[in-house]
């Protein structure tokens, strides 16, 4: 039986964990930005679905993965634009609109898929990995972490970029102010609505990109409901990460690792129902919260629409 746990297999497991983590990472980073700016984006599942569908359509017809990522991000951003219009500009309830968008895109993408692909189920060719020289040759680790599609490294790089933006630039200050005290940002001469709109659009683009990666690289195809709740996981990750992009990365990897663990245990013949293993990451996080539960540091104006001069 030990023969099964060969180097190749272990690296495949870890590779799978990373692949599963990437959409969560992108969605979580996106959600984090909205939340920082004071918008609770419950519609992120719908944005991911839009990204998955349009990303696949783009990649399939253009035969270019990158174009697919582009159309996916644009698709997510388009849904986000609707959300920004309704929730940021008009100030409609973010939960109502978020859920409605998720429901609507579940239905719409399934509908489009039905008319377009439900007889042919097109599938994309394998994504070309970008092999990182030297590192890729380390046993187990190399193939697991350094032979991914370029987008994966970019997603990790994004964590660094986001951290930099949040900590070191005016944009970071603006976002935080928009979430904590929008009126103060406004009188400092920065348009709150615009700041939040940018945040929501970015969220949509990132979620869409995550969806596109999920469809184009993760699955290589699109089927209805393909995101399977990944967007909601993204919300959980963003909230647990308390504004720190690195924690989104750790959280996404934890969830990815748990999925691979499920496979590993079965291959090892360990007889635990998959349901139980699926509970592990949530149990771990809940136990951590119970043990170390501290004041949640969510932005003060989260979920509250901003209207200039209102009181």
């Amino acid at each position: 039986m030990n023969g099964l746990f060969s180097e190749v297999f272990l690296s495949a497991l870890l590779f799978g964990a990373v692949t599963a983590a990437v959409p969560l990472l992108l969605a979580g980073l996106g959600e984090q930005m909205s939340e920082k700016a004071g918008v609770l984006n419950i519609g992120i599942e719908g944005m991911m679905l839009a990204g998955a569908y349009l990303g696949f359509v783009g990649a399939f017809y253009s035969e270019s993965l990158w174009l697919g990522f582009l159309t996916g991000a644009a698709g997510g951003a388009a849904v986000a634009a609707l959300m920004a219009l309704l929730c940021v500009r008009l100030g409609l309830n973010q939960i109502v609109i978020g859920i409605a968008l998720t429901l609507g895109l579940e239905g719409l993408t399934a509908l489009l898929h039905h008319f377009q692909f439900s007889r042919s189920y097109p599938r994309l060719p394998a994504a070309d990995p970008t092999v990182i020289p030297l590192l890729a040759d380390i046993p187990v680790i190399g193939p697991a972490f350094f032979r991914h599609h370029l987008l994966v490294y970019l997603a990790v790089l994004l964590v660094v970029v986001m951290s930099y933006l949040y900590r070191r630039t005016q944009l970071g200050l603006n976002l935080q102010a928009a979430g904590d005290k929008p009126a103060a940002l406004d009188v400092a001469g920065i348009d709150v609505i615009r700041t939040r709109t940018i945040a929501v659009l970015t969220t949509g683009a990132l979620a869409g990109l995550g969806g596109a990666y999920l469809a184009n690289v993760g699955a290589g195809l699109f089927i209805p409901f393909i995101t399977n709740g990944a967007g909601f996981l993204g919300i959980v990750l963003a909230m647990l990460a308390r504004g720190r992009p690195v924690w989104v990365l750790f959280g996404a990897l934890l969830f990815g690792a748990c999925l691979s663990l499920t496979t590993a245990m079965q291959v090892a013949g360990i007889n635990i129902p998959t349901d139980v293993i699926q509970m592990l990451p949530f149990l771990a996080v809940m136990i951590m919260l119970v043990l170390f539960g501290r004041q949640a540091s969510l932005p003060a104006a989260l979920g509250i629409p901003y209207e200039r001069g209102a009181r």
Partner: protein
Amino acid sequence: GEVKSIAILTPEEGTDYGWNQQGIDAAKAAGEAAGVEVVVAQGLGYGDVRPTLRELASDGASLLIAHASGYNTAAPEIAKEMNVPVAIVDTPNGLEKGLVADYTLSGHEGAYLAGRLAAKMSRSKTVGVVVSGEPPSWNSQSGAFAQGVKAENPDVKIIYAVIGPAAYSDAAGGKRVTESVIASGADIIFGQGNGSSFGMLQAVETTKAADGGKVYFIDVIGDKSPIDKGFLLSSVVWNIEPVYAAMIADIKNDTFGTKHYAIGLKDNSVELLKTPAIPDDVWSQIEALREDIVSGKIKVEPVYDATAVRALMTSVAQ
């Protein structure tokens, strides 16, 4: 009894090259053959189908085929309430004369053959079983596949992996898990899953086996050849038409609800799909084995329980 129209209810759209499509196509074929109208209610999900059942019954359907194990509580209830015959799956002890018939289908005989085929053709002597959930009808095929592999060559390893508890549409999960199974040495994947099986197919198409060669895929229930790119080794194809035809006949003869319907190799309602990827000599050996099963020389016992199936795998894997 008189049969004017029959209705079939499926949880998903009938375009999945699998369970739903086979059911709907078979109902249409059976209906056409018997000259009755066929109403299709598809994509109903796994929730409460009572409203749909009642509506179809009140619209005058003479037989309701509840084509999902999730419907087997609701359908008999509506049968009694509206006095309309229903057919349900996976409930062998649910028969009621004139009202409820069961067609617990199991492709285990075909899966056994698939196991023999896989063991013969595996270069790495390792095969994988990937499923997106563990409903009884899949379990029996997973189990029979393992028995087939073992019977052919006890040294072949079988790697079993479930994508998730109900990951029927998790295509990305299907691909990820299949890639892991391939990485652990498998060069033939026996895959069962609805939407997720397209992810498995994608994994097979885009991942090389350990020896650098092709990985092959063995499908179940439907025939995915129209969308194959040369990686489909075979499929345990179910043909449900005879079952539905028999049901219609039984209603006409007032014998509905008195017998079990089954599919099997004998009447070709279960068939192993022949693809160009199977060499002729191997195929003729498989044909011979088929004869042995039909004649009763080889007996394949279905295993429905998930734990028992897993036990079968582990013992094989050791």
